[in-house]
Symmetry: D2
């Protein structure tokens, strides 16, 4: 522990009534360096958190509070598990009190304000803060996250697509046709959140499989902006998300066309080298077939690299728990970096199987 590393920090959560909220609480209530200070929900003010989320009974004694009661400015860090647009309203005031911010919504993900406004139908209220914010994917930008005051926690789909493509796109020479990448992604229902909508009902979603957002999904520009940045050239991805009748889990099947000059590449080695030493990225042995349940309720993301028939198509399979590495777990990983804790603190749960 360096002299700047606090032994414990005070943590606040804004808007903890959704699935990323309860998952943050599950992780933070077990984190050895965290004191849960407050959790806000104007609507549920006064309700014990454990009454809404019975898994927390005996572990979290907090009640939801109004923002006024919560005194978030006394926290070291505040997580926003809110709808898009809330974090950018409240972040400037928190920064004045030296409170750091990790937003699990989209307010600080896209650097291009016009793109943000087009996809989220909201004007951005603090573009200057946005410019200083860091996109919180540790495996791509660890050092900047350590120093960040504001982190935009990545979307769940982008986490799988970006980590699945980075080794290829960051390689020294061009390896694949960057104009024609396919990302066929599949998500469990918890990605749709806890809001009541017909499509999320058990009787609509169970025993069913469907694509959605084929004409456009908000995670698409996020993927593209970040890929352009890491590749240094314009990248084009066709992105089709699908809904799987399961609670947690995300699976992305990525298809890349290998360039003629790159046919000799050892992609397995490329991936293993790129992620050597990463605590939360597991490049599986050649030939592996990852399953979403192998990461259920854990912060691990697993990758397998295939090249069917030794042809010119590279198939990359990526799995994560969308609520952990795809949301709350990654947010805690970012928090650990920002406060100088070992990156894996509080995040070494073994996945739950079966």
């Amino acid at each position: 522990m360096t002299q700047d590393t606090p032994s414990r920090i005070k943590v606040g959560i804004v808007g903890g009534t959704g699935y990323t909220g309860v998952e943050l609480l599950r992780l933070l209530s077990q984190h050895p360096r965290v004191d849960l200070h407050a959790i806000t929900s104007r609507k549920e003010s006064g309700l014990p958190v454990a009454d809404m989320f019975p898994n927390l009974r005996g572990h979290v004694g907090l009640c939801f509070q109004t923002p006024e009661e919560a005194a978030l400015d006394q926290c070291d860090v505040v997580f926003f598990a809110t709808p898009h647009g809330v974090a950018m309203e409240q972040t400037p005031a928190l920064l004045k009190h030296d409170v750091r911010v990790i937003d699990l919504a989209a307010d600080f993900r896209l650097q291009d304000v016009d793109t943000f406004q087009k996809w989220y139908k909201l004007p951005h209220s603090c573009p200057a803060v946005l410019r200083d914010a860091v996109y919180g994917l540790p495996e791509l930008d660890r050092e900047r996250i350590r120093k960040a005051r504001v982190v935009g926690n990545p979307g769940c789909y982008p986490t799988t697509v970006l980590l699945g493509l980075a080794p290829v796109l960051q390689a020294a020479q061009p390896l694949v046709d960057v104009a024609h990448i396919i990302a066929d992604s599949k998500s469990g229902l918890s990605g749709a959140g806890r809001k009541t909508q017909v499509g999320s009902l058990f009787c609509e979603a169970s025993d069913n499989f469907a694509a959605y957002g084929v004409a456009g999904h908000r995670h698409h520009p996020e993927i593209t902006e970040c890929l352009n940045r890491i590749a240094g050239v314009p990248v084009s991805v066709t992105f089709v998300p699908h809904l799987v009748p399961m609670i947690r889990g995300m699976f992305s099947t990525l298809y890349l066309r290998i360039l003629p000059d790159a046919m000799q590449t050892d992609f397995q080695a490329l991936y293993e080298k790129r992620y050597a030493g990463e605590p939360f990225v597991d490049v599986m042995p050649a030939g592996s077939l990852p399953q979403t349940r192998s990461v259920r309720a854990s912060n691990m993301l697993r990758i397998a690299v295939h090249r069917p028939g030794d042809g010119d198509t590279l198939v990359v399979l990526v799995v994560q728990d969308n609520l952990v590495k795809g949301a709350a777990g990654q947010a805690v990983q970012n928090m650990n970096l920002m406060f100088g804790f070992p990156e894996t603190t509080g995040l070494q749960q073994v996945a739950v199987l079966p």
Copy 2:
């Protein structure tokens, strides 16, 4: 009814202890032109079929019989719902008695005997019969099926991929890059059959999503052989199947790169025209997002055509019930054609939703 059309036919089933077997029984027991004559299972001989499949109580009074008892040579048609290799052993004898055969396994699907032997690890015992057999996809080969004595009923994945690609590959001029087609397919668990294997257990397959067969799947050569035939040029498909935690349902997401000269094509119109009048192929309105449950327990296959961002990637979404249009229903559709019944006889069930 022409003079050659019988009013009723006698039907036998070999090996009805799996899911295609029980689904055949569900459909045939309600078919107004069918008399169920016999169903064989050496292992279950003597057991009332309805004791194994309680949904059939009150509808099917047959017991399983040994092949010796069953007198299949008195049938008009025999369905094989058996492991690969059984139908080819028994078909020549049945043909001598003028019994027609519909095989739901792979024995009469692949015309190339070497390919068959490579993928199924079996020598083909009657290549002459195979040469006369017809691949039973009515929408591609209706007239030949009408006259067939032996039909190889298509695999479930191939049905979705072939019907999803046919309009493009059969077009007058080249429309897409046929060397780089992606078929990302997802199937419910019933596609794996009723055999006991760890991976098919509820606790392994539920709340999980995984790819399999990335290095090679038996339906891949079937897809390729048929695509080559209908396209008239060599076609290359990257095919990745996945397992979805649901009982029935199959979803294929097909990605095609549109050729520069074909960018003006109206693909929606192309598909609608190709399948106009087809009773079991529903080209949905532009922008539609098909769901597998919309065809659950019905013989309908639905297609939606998308072109995200009006770019050069065509995305075709195809859904079916893998046990109906992907297996037993298609077999009954073939039977209807072979005996001159209206093609939709006994197949107009409304899908079960929710």
Copy 3:
């Protein structure tokens, strides 16, 4: 067909946007004696029904209409698949036009108006109509249903509990302690309907099991009123409903204490005799273990009678599809009776398994 039996009837549905609505449409669109005349939904007016329920594409061409457009007074019968309270408002006017009414909500189930008002928090607007209405459980009251102008279609839980208890309670002499009957019932999620509520979300209900309504459930007084009627003495049932993570299916486990004088009773024979000839009640062989999937999407209800250790506790197991025999199928069965059609018309679908 008697001279009073019409060859075809015109049918209207009020409020077809829920699961009983779509299930009625599935059944009625295949019914050989029914012309679907209109379906109303003020909110969805103008929307093709098949756009909301994609399983109906190609089978139901109707659009939702406002009540004003629908001309329900020209129907022979109108089904109400509406929230409680709607049918009683509209029924008197329909009766004036000689339209018969089948209500799938609770307006015409309870004969005791005070009980109705206590549990449904609504004054009953037409008690005179209620007095003439018949509780639509054909196996208990077939002859009165034939002549009914208004039928109150039973609740899903009561159908299983009443048919599971009737043979014992209607026996010539007392067989069980009627003051201490236990009904432990389990229902699939579709029983909760298509309305958006947190508890019905996939992520709340999947991979979970819970009791609800332990302190009181609206089907409890319905069960009790009907049991008192058929037993002729006051009956007391402890009724605990539970939610099962499946779409369709209901299972009631009934526990009765056998009276000392009745220990010699052959309960299996009692049940078989009581339901001999019933087309939709299947008393299974002794020792059977019914499964809900054995009746999925069918109108069959199955019963198995057990007496563990030949002791003084009788255990009766009852399964049905809550949307069919527990709702829409039973309503069609009632319609068949009311119009002199064979009772099984349009209701002989084989259950879907797997």
Copy 4:
């Protein structure tokens, strides 16, 4: 830590290829006082455990070993996660080396050897060891477990039924009719284990609900023997287990008839007092409706006490994770007691929700 309490212990597992095995590994690999020494499986010898159970990748480096290689006699404690009959064969030899034994099968549960032999169809090979063995339900017998050399870890159903009934049956005066207790229990599929059998297939168990073992279940005599012991009088329970389409979770609904003299009892207070201070039994507030997911992957068991209509029937609702408090977690709890560790060590995971 007393002078007898070791700082760390060496642990072996016999037969870790089932679900209780992998769950033991999940818990023990995170336990701060445990060194995993060996895991045996003759059949899988040489296979890395993490290849069979991919959630353990990065957490458990062991390979399965033959019993000969494993040197289990060097362990402090050995868990048996084997079929019934294995532990009793190997335990005497281990005891000679001062190795303590926790058996998750039935070999050391039933004290009555005849009953054991009747239900398990095996002669008991070491009745003397059995006599010294302790039934490992800490809330009932904590002090004896501390000193035990051999613990028979309770069955999953018995854990819920016994803890749900103990407060009433251990009360100072008679409160309920002990001759007519109903236990209607429901279990997720993992209770059936990882062996391949048709009934455990996804396509058989999903979207289905059924009772089983109505004529007799092995957990019934275990429940009865233990109830007789704690009540001091003969107790008779009708026990009906059911299968729920979910992976983990167990729910028992218990029905008791309150004796006339006991109608004034405050049962809520009775339960709260009985389990005050218990770390893994949560008596929920009056009116609560426990859900199995509230304990998913945790060692907590929750109880709610109801008395519908203030009548003479007491309804007790009990939930647990059958693999944790119902198996592996309880085994670790017993281990903690046997070695003087704080009872909650390694067992304070928050349940995973959603």
